[in-house]
């Protein structure tokens, strides 16, 4: 039920952020462009795909074992839109803009299909890497001697850098904290030998 609600909400949001006034409004500032518009596109793609996950997956499972293909696709799309050049492009070139509105929701969708299949090891590494990369990005935004995007003001770049730093630390705390309250099913090993008890048998 909630999934259905989320689905419709996502469709609605996708349409809204794509509409000209909202699109231009969010693109007016670097911060809202990168931290609201782009994540919204990804999230909408994720939510829409999640509802039909099974239908989409059916018959295609063998192309996405362990979520490898979908994850690779998403990571490449994210890398592309992380380039300041692409951000500038999307503001100045309608073709880039169009590509952004197509690829980001698809990246979100492909992540939604792949995430549940990812091995826990991969998820852990991705999370750690995300926090590291955000710290680096924050440093790049705040210390770059020049503006990285010609379309935006320096102040916004600084602000973006600071927000990303806070987000990185927040996410780090969240990921770290979640380790402490997980309720994963506990697997007891039959063969777990108490150590040093060898001599007592």
């Amino acid at each position: 039920m909630t999934e259905r609600l989320a689905f419709y909400a996502a469709v609605l949001i996708l349409v809204t952020v794509s509409s000209s006034p909202v699109r231009l409004l969010l693109e007016q500032s670097l911060v809202s462009h990168l931290l609201i518009q782009m994540p919204a596109l990804v999230l909408c793609g994720w939510t829409i795909a999640r509802r039909h996950r099974d239908a989409i997956n059916r018959g295609r499972e063998s192309f996405n074992v362990g979520g490898a293909t979908g994850l690779s696709f998403a990571l490449i799309v994210f890398s592309f839109w992380m380039l300041p050049r692409s951000v500038d492009g999307s503001v100045q070139n309608p073709l880039y803009e169009f590509a952004k509105f197509v690829t980001l929701p698809f990246a979100g969708a492909s992540l939604a299909l792949s995430w549940p299949k990812l091995p826990p090891l991969a998820i852990g590494i991705l999370k750690c890497n995300l926090v590291s990369m955000m710290l680096v990005l924050s440093w790049i935004y705040t210390t770059s001697p020049s503006r990285l995007c010609n379309s935006y003001l320096r102040d916004e770049q600084d602000m973006l850098g600071q927000i990303v730093a806070v987000l990185a630390i927040g996410l780090g705390c969240l990921f770290g904290g979640s380790l402490f309250c997980g309720t994963t099913t506990i697997v007891r090993r039959k063969s777990a030998t108490p150590i040093g008890s060898g001599g007592r048998e």
């Binding site: 063998s62 192309f63 996405n64 074992v65 362990g66 490898a68 293909t69 690779s72 696709f73 990571l75 490449i76 890398s79 592309f80 380039l83 300041p84 050049r85 692409s86 500038d88 492009g89 100045q92 020049s146 503006r147 990285l148 995007c149 010609n150 379309s151 935006y152 003001l153 320096r154």
Partner: protein, 200 residues
Amino acid sequence: MRRTLFATCLVLAFGAAVLWWATSGLRAFTAETARRIAVLASPEPIPDVELVDGSGRSIRLSDYTGQAVIVDFIYTQCPTICVSLGDNFGRLQERIKADGVPAKLLSISFDLAQDGPRELSEYARVHGADASIWKLARPRNAGELRLLLEAYAVIVLPDGIGGFVHNAALHVVGPDGKLTGIYDLDQHNAAFLALRSFIK
């Protein structure tokens, strides 16, 4: 498993190619550097827009044919970056004089609302512009300004407190009227070397 491996490799290969293309071969991460690399590789023609200088005379790029010109974009009220542009132009002017290269400097104001002939002359006086080498001018109207800004890929944004933010650079236009190189403010040495390279 094998299908996934194949699909993943395909996605990664395609993705790597896209990223390679999007960064001009890992050289350009910002639009600015991308533009510089592109211009260096293939010089671009610049529209021959008519400009007006401080004493009302008209100037065109075609007036300079046969000579290299370094163009920069300014607005005279600029408290920061245009001052440094002015300083760098001043230094370039000295070197051009000393070296005797047939090259000129041209500062174009994009602040049509505030920069009239008087402001341009004042800026020239403050920075010691020698009119035989360094001229200041402005386009006649907004349409032609936009044409110019587009050609040079200069983006001007109002900064919200009465001024502008713009990408400041030294644009080298060759004797054939084509934009051949874009350099950072402080790379006046590189820009000067580019000027000299036009002398056979």
